[in-house]
Symmetry: C2
Subunit: 184 residues, 2 copies
DNA sequence: AGCAATAGTATCGACTCAAAACATATTTGA
DNA sequence: TCAAATATGTTTTGAGTCGATACTATTGCT
């Protein structure tokens, strides 16, 4: 059973990478660069740094630094130094970057494949994969990542929504993004 | 919803590749080489060629040829020319290759993550992912691959089991392997 | 002030990858 | 029958990935 699930995930990943490679050809983007770009379009302002991308992709920071350099050179992201901590660089997806992602990510045929499932099958798949991922992340001891609004530090007060870690107020847009500090 | 499922699969794949990289260090094996080796350990005698590996991994044959050369140089597989068609080379996993796979594939922590699921959750996940993969393969128009005994060319006769494409008899071991000619 | 820790970059060598050219073997078809 | 087309697989080349290591710059700690 482990073998079968392992096999299925590997094969899905192979197909995804193959299609991603095709999609990226128009801009000369490698799969890993597209993954980084996609992550940056889904993460919040506490998680848009080189190190967060590193943790998310499971690579070393030197490797990621190079990929980000290429994304910047193609004007798909911009770098912005943090005001409080000058060591930190925030990475923002540009208009061009967002346009590219809207066209290519997730790949069209993958979307088709998902649409072929019934509505309850889709949510069932998501719930089960989420569970597998959580277990796996726990087993490897890696950073979890997760959607802000489901985090235990997400505080709903009478004044609005607030992050218990940073004590900053959060907008409705903020809380649907992915955060590296996520904790269930 | 597409986005979420896309994201989950990407992240599982990232973790798997990361752990695979670690497991392969003992023999100096790259993730892609391990994937090829694993595939060869699960496929039948009609599917143990360079081209089949190429289709399975979604790479070009030149690329795959190089990876297989490395596996051969490390004595994890052997090459054997086909008797009927001398263009074809069959790839067999050696004892050493099988030992390596038994220890490392699927990765231990992935197995742990799966074991954390209830029994019916496991089979449910498998069924759903199988469905997604089938849809996806159909959408991309790629070779399906599948287990011999569930194939429409698998014929159960009074003499035993037979493949309707090759007209060869099949053993009980044969029919649990993956075939590139699979058709549902 | 001084030292350790953190964020990020630069460089190196081994490896992946697609593309193209190539070598063989088989099939087709006039 | 035999040349052209097709199929399997290898080699070469150049762009890019990757981890490891060493490095800079900034911040935190004592």
């Amino acid at each position: 059973m482990n073998d079968e699930l392992f096999n299925l995930i590997e094969r899905l990943a192979n197909l995804l990478r193959q299609e991603t490679r095709l999609e990226g050809q128009s801009l000369g983007l490698q799969p890993i660069q597209q993954e980084a770009l996609y992550y940056l379009s889904t993460c919040n302002r506490y998680s848009d740094t080189t190190l967060a991308v590193t943790e998310f992709l499971g690579l070393t920071k030197g490797t990621v630094s190079q990929s980000l350099k290429i994304l910047e050179s193609k004007s798909l992201i911009t770098k912005l130094k943090d005001n409080k901590d000058r060591r930190i660089t925030h990475l923002k997806v540009t208009e061009a970057g967002q346009e590219f992602l809207a066209k290519t990510c997730p790949p069209q045929k993958f979307t088709d494949a998902i649409t072929g499932l019934a509505g309850d099958e889709q949510s069932e798949t998501r719930a089960l994969l989420q569970k597998v991922l959580n277990n796996y992340q726990q087993a490897t001891g890696r950073t979890a990542f997760g959607v802000c609004k489901y985090c235990k530090f997400n505080l709903k007060t009478s004044d609005g929504i607030r992050c218990g870690l940073t004590n900053e107020t959060l907008s409705n847009q903020d809380i649907i993004l992915i955060c590296r500090e996520f904790s269930a």
